[in-house]
Amino acid sequence: MNTIDPDGVDIVVPLYRAAHGRTGDKGDRSNISVIAWHADLWPLLVEQITPEAVATQFRHRAPSRVQRFVMPTLQAMNFVLDAVLDGGVNDARNLDTHGKSLSFLLLDMPLRVPAALRHRLVGPDAG
C-alpha cells in the first residue's frame, strides 16, 4: 500500500503506521480512538481522517451518524459511530457482536504522509 506520489513528495501508507487505537461499544454505538504515534504526524490525522472519510470507510455498516472529537492534549481523536453494530451486543448476528475488531477497519484507511516524515512511521515499510 506504500506508493510514491509522482512528484515524490508524499507517500501513502495505512493509517496504522501513523496511529493506534481501540474500539469500545455501548449499545448500538461504537467508539474508535485514533491516537498519533508521534506529534509530527498529528496534524495529518486531523486533516485527513475526517468524519466524512470515516463514514465512507464504514459505508457497509451504514452509520446513522459519525462524530469526531479532537483532543489536542492527547493527540488523539475519538470517533463515535451510531447504529453500526447491527443492534449491539445483544442483537447482532455477527460473531463479533461488540464490534471489537472495527479499529482495524478504521486503521486500514490510507494516509498521505510527506516523505520527510517517513522516519516517524511505525512498522516495516511493507506493512
Binding site: 449499545g27 459505508r59 462524530q67 451486543v89
Partner: protein, 476 residues
C-alpha cells in the same frame, strides 16, 4: 485550566489495584496485585490499645474486581431463577481464595460488583470461604437498590420506556448506581463491599470518597477519580493487554500480563502502574487507548457520580511503568440513573461448515446460496471466515461487494434469529444437510441454538431508586 498545586499538608495517597476487568477474567492475577499493594503499604502499625468500642479503621488500600458487562447481569439473573443461591459471579471463589487472607491481614479492602444478580448470596459465599480458611468473619456490606426487576418498579419502567414494555418478558432491570453507598458502607466499617450493578468507575470513586472524605458534589475530585477508575476497570487493558500487534505494538510477557494499580492523591489525580513481577507495560500509548475506551463525548463521560471531562486531559510518563494522568475535570452529575432492561429475545441459530483446498471459497459461497434458497423464512447473516467475516455487516453489503478471492481455507458461518424456536431450528438442520446435499468436500459442521437476550436502556430519576447498603455479619 490547571490542576491544583499539591498542598503542603496532604492526606496520604490511596492505592487501588484491579484484579478483574470482566466476568471470566484470569483468576491467577490478583496475587501479584495484592503482593504489590502489601509491599507498597509497608507493615501494619501495631494496634494501640484494644478499645472494642472504637470504630473500625478504613482499609489502607483497595482491591477491586470489575465483573459485569452489559449482558452479564441478565445471564446472572437467569442463573438465579434456576437456583436462588446462584446469580453472582461464578468465578468468585477462584478470584478471592488466593488473596482473601492477605487482604484482611493487611487492611486491604475489597470492592466489587461480583454480586451481580445476587449480592447477598455472594456475601454468604465469602463468609463460608473465610470460615473454610480459618479467618475471622470479615465485615461485608451488600449494596442495594440497583435491581429494578421487582413488580413494584414496573410502572416506573413503563413510564420511561412506554407501552412496548407490556409485550416483553423481562429478565433483568438494573440501574447503574454510584459511589455514595459504597463510600457509606466503608465508613460504616465494611472490609468488603459486594455490589450488583454499579457504574464501573464507582468501584474506585467509592473508596476514594471514603478515604479522603470528599463530598458527593466535589465534582472536580470525583471527575478525576472517575477517570482513575475508568483506567482500572478493564484490568490488563491499561497494562498492555488488548494492545499487542506484532511488529507494530510489541508487548513483552503478554502471557503474564500485569494488572493495574492506581495511586490517587487527595485531589483525585492519579498515577497508573501495574503489579510487580508481571509482563506487559504501562506507557502513554496504553493509557491513552484505555482512557478513550467506551467514551463518547470526551467532555461528558456520564456516570452516576459525576460528568467527567477529559477534553483537555494529558498523560505523562513519570517512571518505569508509571503514567500520570492530568487535566481531568468534573461537572455536576446527571439527574437520572441509566437503567438497562434485558428481555427475552427469541432464538439465535448458528451453523458452520468448512471448505479447504482448491476453490474452497467458491464452494463456501455456493453453500451459502443453497442455504438462502432453502431457508426463506430466515434472514441469514453469512460469514466466509478466512475471507470476509467479522468486519462485515448483518445485511451482507460487504460480502456482496467482495469478489471471490480464491481463498483456500474458508469456514462458512450462517446465523439467524427468530422468535419461534421451531423455525430457528431449521437453520441447523439445513447446515447439517450440506454434508450430503451441498457442495463437495464440506466438513466440520457445528450448529448451536441459544436463547437471546435483548436490551432496552432508559433513564429514571435518581429519587425513584432508593439505594443503600446492609452489613452482613455471619452466614445464616
Amino acid at each position: 485550566m490547571t490542576d491544583p498545586a499539591p498542598s503542603t499538608v496532604t492526606a496520604p495517597s490511596l492505592l487501588i489495584g484491579c484484579a478483574a476487568g470482566f466476568s471470566g477474567d484470569r483468576t491467577d492475577v490478583a496475587a501479584a496485585v495484592v503482593d504489590t499493594l502489601i509491599a507498597r503499604l509497608g507493615p501494619i502499625a501495631p494496634a494501640t490499645g484494644s478499645d472494642p468500642t472504637a470504630p473500625p479503621a478504613l482499609p489502607r488500600a483497595f482491591l477491586i474486581f470489575e465483573t459485569l458487562a452489559e449482558r452479564t447481569l441478565a445471564l446472572a439473573q437467569l442463573r438465579r431463577r434456576a437456583d436462588p443461591e446462584a446469580g453472582y459471579e461464578p468465578l468468585l471463589d477462584l478470584m478471592l481464595r488466593p488473596v482473601l487472607a492477605r487482604c484482611l491481614a493487611h487492611g486491604i479492602g475489597i470492592v466489587s460488583n461480583f454480586g451481580a444478580a445476587n449480592p447477598r448470596a455472594a456475601a454468604r459465599h465469602i463468609l463460608r470461604l473465610a470460615r473454610e480458611l480459618d479467618l475471622p468473619a470479615p465485615r461485608i456490606a451488600v449494596l442495594e437498590g440497583d435491581d429494578l426487576s421487582a413488580p413494584g418498579f414496573r410502572d416506573l419502567l413503563r413510564e420511561r420506556i412506554g407501552a412496548t414494555l407490556d409485550d416483553l418478558r423481562i429478565v433483568s432491570a438494573n440501574a447503574y448506581i454510584g459511589a455514595e453507598p459504597i463510600a457509606a458502607a466503608l465508613r460504616a466499617g465494611a472490609q468488603i463491599v459486594v455490589c450488583g450493578r454499579v457504574a464501573d468507575p464507582s468501584l474506585t470513586v467509592g473508596p476514594a470518597m471514603a478515604h479522603f472524605g470528599w463530598a458527593a458534589d466535589d465534582w472536580e475530585k470525583l471527575g478525576r477519580a472517575t477517570m482513575a477508575g475508568h483506567l482500572l476497570e478493564c484490568g490488563a487493558q491499561v497494562c498492555g493487554g488488548y494492545f499487542a500487534d506484532p511488529g507494530f505494538k510489541d508487548v513483552p510477557g503478554l502471557d503474564q500480563v500485569g494488572f493495574p494499580i492506581a495511586e490517587i492523591d487527595a485531589e483525585g489525580r492519579c498515577t497508573i502502574g501495574k503489579s510487580e513481577g508481571t509482563g506487559g507495560f504501562v506507557n502513554e500509548a496504553t493509557v491513552k487507548e484505555q482512557l478513550l475506551y467506551e467514551v463518547h463525548d470526551p467532555a461528558a463521560y456520564l456516570t452516576p457520580d459525576v460528568v467527567a471531562d477529559i477534553a483537555e486531559a494529558s498523560v505523562s510518563v513519570v517512571g518505569a511503568d508509571r503514567v500520570a494522568l492530568a487535566g481531568v475535570r468534573g461537572h455536576a452529575r446527571p439527574t437520572h440513573y441509566k437503567v438497562n432492561v434485558c428481555h427475552e429475545g427469541g432464538w439465535l441459530a448458528e451453523g458452520e461448515i468448512s471448505y479447504a483446498g482448491a476453490r474452497a471459497e467458491g464452494r463456501a459461497r455456493l453453500a451459502a446460496d443453497v442455504l438462502r434458497e432453502r431457508l426463506p423464512a430466515l434472514d441469514l447473516r453469512v460469514d466466509l471466515i478466512g475471507a470476509v467475516s467479522i468486519l462485515a455487516d448483518d445485511t451482507g453489503r460487504m460480502l456482496a461487494a467482495t469478489p471471490d478471492a480464491g481463498v483456500r481455507d474458508v469456514r462458512l458461518r450462517v446465523a439467524a434469529t427468530h422468535h419461534d424456536r421451531a423455525v430457528a431450528e431449521t437453520l441447523g438442520r439445513e447446515v447439517t444437510a450440506l454434508y450430503t446435499c451441498g457442495p463437495a468436500g464440506g466438513g466440520g459442521v457445528r450448529c448451536s441454538l441459544t436463547p437471546r437476550l435483548n436490551t432496552i436502556s432508559c433513564l429514571v430519576p435518581r429519587d425513584a431508586v432508593p439505594v443503600g447498603f446492609e452489613m452482613i455479619r455471619e452466614a445464616a
